[in-house]
């Protein structure tokens, strides 16, 4: 399952989708919105995606991971829209026969998603009493 969604991510559903009766390990990465960035308070983040390209890119990443590790199941869900600190922005779950490959595959997938998937965040930071500053990094 690859999902780009404006709705809050149902973490358990992502885990269930990736799980398999033949697996001895399910590994989950949950990315959340930090409350501080560039030494300032984050008020909110806006995520957007070029969805058609993003889904194809994540599929390529999963294909490569499946080639490198014996994955039994996988799921990736990325949130878009407006997110506040503490909210879940991305969930990656994989299952495999043993734990080592599940850790490696999960890390590989989230690292690749962060550097390759066509998703952008814009940070809205608080400056002073009423000011905002926008940052793309």
């Amino acid at each position: 399952m690859i999902k780009i969604t404006e709705k809050p991510i149902d973490v358990q559903k992502v885990i269930d989708t990736a799980s398999s009766l033949n697996a001895g390990a399910v590994n989950v990465f949950i990315g959340t919105v930090r409350s501080k960035a560039h030494g300032k308070n984050v008020v909110w983040l806006e995520y957007e995606s070029y969805e058609s390209m993003t889904v194809a890119e994540i599929r390529k990443i999963i294909d490569e991971a499946s080639h490198r590790w014996p994955l039994l199941g996988w799921a990736v869900s990325h949130r878009i829209g407006t997110l506040k600190p503490g909210e879940v922005s991305v969930v990656v779950a994989v299952s495999s026969p043993h734990r080592k490959e599940s850790f490696e595959a999960c890390q590989y997938i989230i690292d690749e998603v962060k550097t390759k998937a066509q998703i952008w965040k814009k940070k809205y930071l608080k400056t002073g009493r009423n000011g905002f500053q926008q940052a793309h990094k």
Partner: protein, 79 residues
């Protein structure tokens, strides 16, 4: 030829819209890139800028048509 350019991330701020029209005769990706950087010099400050045509990263020599879905892909920042 009139091209419609989709913008994402910081390119939307630089070009000032989600969809920007650019008129270029016999356009290629390379010509589009020079025209865009001429009009919007801030694009040159980006660490990378890819052009996607019909959902695939395009080569500089690729020819463009008015029906193509063209998008600017600045450095991504998901996760």
């Amino acid at each position: 030829m009139k091209l419609k350019i989709k913008t994402f991330g910081i390119t939307r701020d630089i070009l000032g819209g989600r969809l920007v029209e650019i008129e270029i005769s016999q356009p290629t990706v390379s010509l589009l890139r020079s025209e865009l950087t001429r009009r919007y010099p801030d694009l040159e400050n980006l660490n990378s800028l890819f052009v996607a045509v019909n959902n695939k990263y395009a080569d500089e020599s690729e020819e463009l048509s008015s029906t193509d879905e063209i998008a600017l892909i600045p450095p991504v920042s998901g996760g």
